[in-house]
């Protein structure tokens, strides 16, 4: 077909050029491809172009990493600590400090976890806890213990997964995915929020109540940032005082920022 037989890369050579570097057979690679010397058929220059297209990450290509991580956190609000279970309390504290809730609350939560089996935490969130939970819960900011990728603590099963910290986090994440809130709620990661709110339609109102419960906490201020100091939130602090999550002690406060993120 071609009047110059060597002018175009053959099919075999084309496959070789297209294959991932690790898949190439070592004997097949022309040495001058490395030196960038142009052969009459142009293929070594072509190889150099392809090699340039394959280089490792270049300057600026990873700029979107933090944004992607924020999306990941919104989808996976219950991070997996990498420590052994007996050190869960410490990792909970570290995780909480690094992420969402102030140290005071984290310490209180850790203490409550050990002492009260998580009931106080759940009560604080305004969610009626599952009364049958004698041992330390799986569902406060610790992971699904089975470690399976699909097994999110969605509130099914016996673990009271809705600790106030995680619900806050979910509300924040919900507002962070505000561009498509309907679809976001289909993500099983939001299951605990749906259950606590009593349905998708109630999520905006529920999150608004959450924000009212914790005055000074502006959910859309900094997605993933720490909320401001939590005046009455420690579970050791009168856990019986908040039966259903209605605002306590701050009658005049209303959230100044709309937590559902509509119109963002």
């Amino acid at each position: 077909m071609s009047t110059q037989p060597n002018r175009r890369p053959t099919r075999r050579r084309a496959e070789h050029l297209l294959a991932a570097p690790a898949d190439r057979r070592p004997g097949n690679r022309p040495a001058d491809e490395q030196r960038g010397i142009r052969r009459p058929d142009g293929t070594s220059t072509l190889a150099a172009v392809l090699a340039a297209a394959r280089r490792p990450a270049q300057e600026g290509e990873l700029r979107g990493e933090e944004a992607a991580l924020a999306a990941f956190r919104a989808a996976f609000p219950h991070p997996v600590p990498r420590t052994a279970p007996r050190r869960r309390r410490l990792s909970m504290i570290k995780t909480a400090v690094a992420r969402l809730i102030p140290l005071k609350l984290a310490l209180a939560a850790a203490a409550a976890t050990a002492a009260a089996g998580g009931l106080a935490l759940a009560a604080n969130a305004g969610v009626l806890p599952n009364p049958v939970k004698p041992h330390a819960p799986q569902g406060s900011p610790s992971p699904d213990s089975s470690g399976k990728p699909t097994a999110h603590p969605t509130g099914k099963g016996s673990a009271p997964t809705a600790s106030p910290a995680s619900l806050q986090g979910l509300c924040r994440a919900y507002s962070a995915v505000a561009d498509n809130p309907g679809k976001a709620l289909e993500n099983p990661a939001f299951g605990a929020l749906l259950e606590a709110a009593g349905g998708a339609a109630n999520v905006p109102a529920f999150c608004a109540r959450q924000a009212a419960d914790q005055p000074g906490n502006a959910p859309t201020d900094k997605p993933g940032g720490k909320p401001s100091e939590h005046p009455t939130g420690g579970p050791t602090d009168k856990p019986g005082n908040r039966p259903t999550g209605k605002p306590a002690g701050k009658p005049g406060s209303a959230p100044t920022v709309h937590p559902t993120g509509q119109g963002r």
């Binding site: 002018r7 175009r8 890369p9 099919r11 084309a14 496959e15 050029l17 297209l18 294959a19 991932a20 030196r35 960038g36 010397i37 142009r38 009459p40 058929d41 142009g42 293929t43 220059t45 072509l46 150099a48 172009v49 392809l50 340039a52 297209a53 394959r54 280089r55 490792p56 990450a57 270049q58 290509e61 990873l62 700029r63 979107g64 990493e65 944004a67 992607a68 991580l69 999306a71 990941f72 956190r73 919104a74 989808a75 996976f76 219950h78 991070p79 997996v80 990498r82 992971p143 470690g147 399976k148 990728p149 699909t150 999110h152 995915v177 679809k183 976001a184 993500n187 099983p188 990661a189």
Partner: protein
Amino acid sequence: MDDNEVAALAGAQGGDEDAFRRLYRMIQPGLLRYLRGLIGQDAEDVASEAWLQIARDLHSFRGDPDAFRAWAATIARHRALDHLRRIRRRPVVAGNEELLAMVAGAGDTERLAMESLSTAAAVDLIATLPPDQAEAVLLRVVLGLDAPAAARVMGKRPGAVRTAAHRGLRTLAARLDAETLPAPRRRAVTLQRIAALKEVR
């Protein structure tokens, strides 16, 4: 596919942030370059949109790292099509005559030029090909998909994708070898391009 990829994918699906970071660093460069080939300089924005969806749907993905790359490419492709429909105007991507001059000249300067050829410029060069050839080459070269996986992303038969990729390489080689430069090829990002990308469905 190596063990690092397997571990990163599994960890990310389990909610491990560090694993997700590693996964991102493995996948994003290729994804970005593929998108650059499809839509040009808005690639970074569209890549961010793609990662939003990747993160959301990560929990439901099933497969090995190779399949994950193809899945991510498919998501990116849909976002790219949406983007092209949204912009509805005709931004013209500059012809690459300078680029071709850099790589296709005669003499000693060309080796220097090749060494300084940026990754983005290399992708732009590939993107001067007809859309399906450019896409076939990019999916294989920057995303490391094999022909069957690339075919699934593009919605074509593997044989057709193989042919498109080979033709693309032949065309590129010819251009790089040309002593007289071809007329500058202005790749208009138009609805025609959308149609070209869509026709494969």
